[in-house]
C-alpha cells in the first residue's frame, strides 16, 4: 500500500485522474460525472495541478468561459505507474 502514490490514491482524486486519463474534460462535465461540488472539485484540481499531474486550459471570456483539464505527461506516467503497482499488489495477494 505504501508503494501507491498517496496523491492519486485518495478516492476523489483517483476518479479525477481516471477520467482525465481517457479524455480532456470540461469542469462542469467533470463535476457532473463525479458528482462533486464545484469548490470540492476545484480544491482537488488545485492539488493535482500543483503536483504537475494536470494542466488547465481556459476557453472564452467572461461568464461564458470554461476550463478544460487534461493530464500532463508526468500525470499520465504517474497514473500508469499507480495502476501497475495496484495490479501488482493484487497479483501478489492472490498468489500468497
Amino acid at each position: 500500500m505504501d508503494d501507491l502514490d498517496p496523491l492519486i490514491h485518495a478516492p476523489k482524486r483517483l476518479r479525477i485522474m481516471t477520467v482525465l486519463s481517457t479524455a480532456e474534460v470540461e469542469f462542469s462535465r467533470l463535476q457532473e460525472r463525479l458528482d462533486l461540488s464545484a469548490p470540492d472539485l476545484s480544491k482537488q484540481m488545485r492539488q493535482l495541478i500543483d503536483a504537475g499531474y494536470v494542466e488547465a486550459r481556459k476557453t472564452g471570456k467572461g461568464p461564458g468561459s470554461t476550463t478544460w483539464y487534461k493530464l500532463t505527461r508526468q500525470g499520465r506516467r504517474a497514473f500508469d505507474d499507480y495502476l501497475d503497482r495496484l495490479r501488482r499488489l493484487l497479483d501478489e495477494a492472490s498468489v500468497s
Binding site: M1, H9, P11, L14, R15, T18, V19, S21, T22, A23, E24, V25, E26, S28, R29, L30, E32, R33, T66, W68, L83, L86, R87, L89, L90, A93
Partner: protein, 156 residues
Amino acid sequence: MDDLRRTLDQVERDRLETYLGDGHIPWWYSLGFAVAGGCALMSMGIETRWLAIVVALTAAVTIGAMAGVAVRKAGAIPRLRTMPPPLRRVLIGYWVVAGVGIAAILVWAFTTETARPFVWAGGLYFVVVVLAGSVSDGMFRRRARRLADQAGIQDG
C-alpha cells in the same frame, strides 16, 4: 485487499464510462458533415470562381463550427488511444471506409467524361458519409451497450 480490488474495478468502470457517454459522434454532426462536404465538392464544378470559393469556404467554416459545438456540448474530448478496442475498431473502420470512399469519388470526378461530375461527386459523397456514419454509429452503440452490460454500468 478487497479495498484494492474495488478500487481497480472502479477505475475500469470510470475509464469505460467516458467512451459510453461521450465516445460516439452525434448524428447531426455526421449529417452536417455530409451536407457541408457535399457542397464543398459541388463548388468545384461552379464556373464563377468567386462563388465557388464562397461556397467552399462556407462549407469549411460550417464543418469547423459544428466540430466546435459538438465538443462543447459533450464537454469532453475522448482519447482514441485508451478507447476499448471493440469501439476503437468501429471508429477506425468508419474513417477508413469514408476515406477510401471519398478518395474513389475524387478520382472518379477528376477523370470522368460525365457532364457536371462534381455535382454527382457531391451527391455520392453525401450518400457515402451518411451511410458510413449511420452504420458505424449503430455498431458503436451496440458494442458500447454490450461493454456496459459486462461492466455492470446502467446507463450505457
